[in-house]
């Protein structure tokens, strides 16, 4: 084991190659044993659930998707299914795929750093930890019958009634005619993206030459979509706003 006795400080400085056998293989082997033991113990002590036989005439309340999709199921409260169930997942997948092509910051490649890429880490951690993980935790533990929120100490009352007092945004602003409301809502939504994009491009105008305008447009609009989800949640919970934009074809 002559290799491991090399001075530790040097490791960071110079690329040193070591043999995979035994140095990596032994770690993998150990790791595999530990994981298999944990899995076996877990499987001996806790049984996988098996409820009564499937019955299409008996809908459980609440009906929950598998836990890993509960983040998406939870934004169904705030969005129609075409967005929460179809368009949002597509945006998530496409957005993730695009990350390496949008993030052109050459720093922080192959090591942990926060200071050299604060923005990237904030965005990803926010999306992953807040929008994905915490909504899942909420969906698993706090969503009861009728998809109502229950605190852990509260009884899951299937007859809990929550008054539906939500109104659409244009209505809240006093717009009463259907067509005017449609125009108003459209203006708010499109305006949000236009202003957001404009402000970002203006503030980062020096970067246009290096980063490229197309890249910046895609980046800022994906970020705006993510923030829009948060804004919609806040509008609903804080101001009882149902839709922002109502059209004959879709509602946002």
């Amino acid at each position: 084991m002559a290799d491991t006795s090399a001075p530790r400080k040097k490791i960071e400085v110079k690329v040193e190659k070591v043999h995979v056998w035994p140095y990596l293989v032994r770690i993998e082997f150990l790791c595999a044993i530990i994981v298999i033991i944990l899995l076996t113990v877990w499987s001996i002590t806790i049984d996988a659930p098996l409820e009564e036989a499937a019955n299409p005439t008996k809908t459980p309340n609440p009906s929950k998707a598998p836990w890993y999709f509960l983040g998406l199921q939870d934004i169904l409260v705030y969005f129609d299914p075409w967005f929460a169930g179809v368009v949002a997942p597509v945006f998530i997948i496409v957005g993730l795929i695009l990350i390496p092509y949008l993030d052109v910051n050459p720093k922080g490649n192959g090591y942990y750093t926060y200071v050299e890429r604060k923005f990237a880490i904030w965005i990803y951690s926010f999306g992953f930890l807040v929008l994905w993980i915490s909504l899942i935790i909420m969906g698993v533990f706090l969503r009861g019958p009728g998809w109502n929120l229950f605190m852990p100490w509260q009884f899951w009352d299937p007859h809990k009634v929550v008054a539906l007092v939500n109104v659409d945004l244009p209505y809240a602003f006093g717009v009463r005619s259907y067509n005017m409301a449609m125009l108003f809502g459209g203006a708010v939504v499109l305006g949000y993206f236009a202003v957001g994009t404009g402000v970002y491009i203006f503030m980062e105008r020096k970067a246009i030459k290096n980063v490229g305008i197309l890249r910046m447009l895609i980046k800022v609009n994906l970020a705006l979509i993510m923030f829009a989800i948060v804004i919609k949640i806040v509008l609903r919970l804080g101001f009882n706003i149902k839709y922002i934009w109502v059209t004959p074809w879709f509602n946002i």
Partner: protein, 277 residues
């Protein structure tokens, strides 16, 4: 050094040998020089650089690895071991899944009772089912953690952009694998979770019968849209069970397995695990 058995057993001497490890060396020597051992194993393993390379290069399983790697790639603090654990959990589901397949029939009338039979009558059936299910759930968690670490170390940056793209497909297929498997026990939990999940597809723009703009596409109805193509009908029934079974046991594992091979190959072609240089 030839071992001289002491005439009178001396406790202190024996303890000393145990402590210094000398006794272990003696036992090894005795065993490896015995006739049984020497007739079974033609030669020992000499720890030479050449042999270290050959261990990897001439073994079909190990040669997924390069023979040499950067020292920093060994650090668990860097990789969290999460990619490897994800792969291991995948392999565990393959092994336990094959055993489950011996007892399970994806037919509306049988599926649920096959689960019961598996749990109560098949030796180790419950254990196999538990291991399969928990490994699948754990895999979902570890693949997210793996992705998170790859993001935090910026390992998707050039030249590894494409491996990140493959990774995004892998995480998607991991979720789909788990989701299609969720239906197979054919109990209330399964049926309604999948009902909730697949109901979303009704609202697919253009192609779902409740989605925006579906009125502009000819022929979209509850019986013929993306959702019914997925579940083989307008409700989650026996055709959905069969479809999910085939997707779960054949199509998705094959695609995911192929993608994993490409993923591992690209790690090597991109210069090994990313590192600070």
């Amino acid at each position: 050094m030839a071992a001289k058995p002491p005439e009178i057993p001396n406790i202190a001497e024996i303890m000393g040998k145990i402590k210094s490890g000398e006794i272990f060396g003696q036992i090894v020597k005795k065993v490896t020089e015995s006739q049984i051992w020497t007739s079974s194993f033609r030669h020992g393993y000499a720890d030479t650089p050449r042999n270290r390379v050959l261990q990897i290069a001439s073994n079909v399983w190990l040669h997924l690895h390069p023979v040499k790697i950067h020292r920093h790639a060994l650090r668990i603090k860097f990789t969290w071991c999460m990619g490897g654990i994800t792969f291991l959990l995948f392999l565990s589901t393959v092994v336990t899944g094959v055993i489950l397949m011996f007892y399970y029939r994806p037919v509306g009338e049988y599926a649920y009772f096959d689960m019961k039979y598996l749990q109560y009558d098949v030796p180790f059936g419950m254990l196999m089912r538990n291991m399969h299910r928990w490994a699948a759930h754990a895999m979902v968690i570890t693949v997210w953690l793996h992705m998170f670490r790859v993001f935090l170390t910026g390992s998707y940056k050039p030249p590894r952009e494409f491996n990140w793209v493959i990774g995004v497909f892998l995480v998607t297929f991991t979720l789909l694998l788990s989701f299609t498997g969720y239906l197979l026990p054919w109990d209330q939990l399964a049926m309604w979770a999948v009902t909730v999940g697949t109901n979303m597809a009704r609202a697919t723009p253009f192609l779902g019968h409740e989605g925006p703009f579906q009125e502009f596409v000819f022929g979209v109805s509850p019986r013929y849209d993306v959702r019914s193509a997925l579940i083989g009908g307008s409700v989650v029934g026996p055709p959905a069970l069969l479809r999910f079974y085939v997707l779960h046991c054949i199509l998705i594992p094959l695609v995911a397995g192929a993608l994993m091979i490409v993923h591992f190959w690209r790690i090597r072609k991109d210069g090994g695990i990313s590192g600070p240089l």
